[in-house]
Symmetry: C2
Subunit: 295 residues, 2 copies
């Protein structure tokens, strides 16, 4: 398959909404309604998925992981473009079918892209969107004393294969953005043990994680469920910082099936800490997943 053939196959499936321009020009175009947010997310063969994985699911993961960043910002999708480095052994049409289906499920048109050869399948998805409600969410803005909450159970994503079926939490992100008690948010892609310190740092705080309070996903099978839930990564649930005094009201009004859970606090000291099994505050020794840059 050559570049033009793949582009033709994609173009046949990509529906361009009225008022936008899609595949076929040097740029795509749209008329934004206001403040716009954008994210790029790349998945690479051998790092985020394996040579034997289903190409439909690999495409789905590429789109879902990117959309998750919009969800965490309290945004709704407006458009996407994809860049594909495609070795001949991969079925590019199936990869794109999985990617397009996931974009379509979330109302996000595919408006452009780029294809090249490559030794490893590499899929880079850029998505952009606008506030679902009256504001967008950020990692900064939280304060010491805020509770850290997660929108669902964590862990076991890679071992179970769930990482290939990320669920961008658009409804939860929009609800969080609409709540006056929410001060900051992000999505959990590298694991709570890495991501909570990032949110804390962005807000000029430290954090105290409560590993034994973290809801453990049914996919976790190992002996140390709390560690899996904190460290496995690729959960794509949302992490938010909320004002502690409003937690009872927040919890009562939570409308989603998955239980919302407190997993820690933001602290005035900037150290990253956790509560150990004996209830003592100790340095945070758990680590989420960090992609090594040496292949």
């Amino acid at each position: 398959m050559r570049e033009n053939d793949l582009i033709r196959a994609i173009r046949a499936h990509a529906v361009v909404p009225a008022g936008m321009r899609g595949i076929g020009d040097d740029c795509c175009e749209w008329t934004p309604a206001g403040r716009t947010c954008l994210s790029v997310d790349t998945i690479v063969e051998g790092v985020h998925f394996l040579a034997g994985d289903d190409p439909l699911l690999v495409g789905r993961k590429a789109a879902g992981a990117a959309l998750s960043d919009l969800a965490a910002t309290g945004a709704k999708p407006v458009g996407a473009v994809v860049s594909l480095s495609l070795p001949g052994r991969w079925n590019g049409v199936q990869v794109m079918d999985g990617l397009l289906a996931e974009l379509t499920r979330h109302g996000c048109p595919l408006l452009g892209g780029d294809t090249t050869g490559g030794q490893q399948l590499t899929i880079s998805v850029t998505v952009w969107g606008e506030a679902a409600g009256s504001r967008l969410l950020h990692r900064d803005g939280a304060a010491a004393g805020d509770l850290l909450i997660v929108t669902g159970p964590l862990g076991g994503s890679l071992a179970s294969g769930r990482h290939l079926r990320p669920e961008p939490r658009f409804a939860e992100g929009a609800w969080l953005a609409a709540s006056p008690y929410v001060h900051a948010a992000m999505d959990l892609s590298d694991g709570l043990a890495s991501d909570a310190p990032r949110l804390a740092e962005a807000s000029g705080c430290g954090c105290l994680l409560l590993p034994n309070q973290v809801p453990i996903h049914a996919d976790v099978s190992g002996p140390d469920g709390a560690r899996s839930a904190c460290c496995d990564g690729e959960d794509f649930e949302l992490l938010a910082a909320i004002s502690a005094e409003h937690w009872p009201h927040f919890q009562l009004s939570w409308p989603f099936a998955a239980r919302v859970a407190v997993v820690g606090w933001l602290t005035p000291e900037t150290a990253h800490t956790m509560e150990d099994d004996l209830g003592r505050r100790v340095p945070l020794t758990l680590r989420g997943y960090e992609h090594p840059l040496t292949a």
Copy 2:
């Protein structure tokens, strides 16, 4: 070097304009002034550059090739994000230095990105912008009888190493968008012999190329200069379709140092043709560069 270290190094150099949010959140943000255009462009080691190339120039090429799409649309840059798949043997900081310098040269802030490992250095740059004047340019909108013009000499880009120093034609693109005689435009990345038929197809026309009229770049060293100029690719000059009757006025008012040249016509029949050395109209047998999707 690990992901967080590289991100810190990038963040230290990336200046975020007032009113925008840059690296550090799940998404970057800006407030668009109006109609927005966006493009993604990816370069891959072994396809668009070689293992021994200067990392500063590789970064520059990644940014320049992406920006060229904005230039061809008659847009000015608003922002960029980059996704980097970085093998350990490459100096990621130098790649990013080259990329940032090129973005900065064109007034384009780097607002976000993503880094992963990988076996081949792969750089995917998403850029977006807004009309430099009152309209954006597209590939469609031209008509049979329009002249095809190019903004500068072509060929020899790869052999000379010029392909690592693309010059996005922002001034030319803005000038073309401001001219009422320009009906369509695009940038020349794959070579005139491939790109002219694309513009013709988008406008529902065929084309007649005039290989012997194509201005040949001083970098061309081979015996068949016209073939190099039509086929080599990665020129990043602009191709435009203009109304034939206004060519004299267009040419007289052309304000740039490089000579504007007529290289063909759009035709009512949809065939792709060229004029041979005897002045006969024959099928277009020249081909630009098409990246094979099998690595």
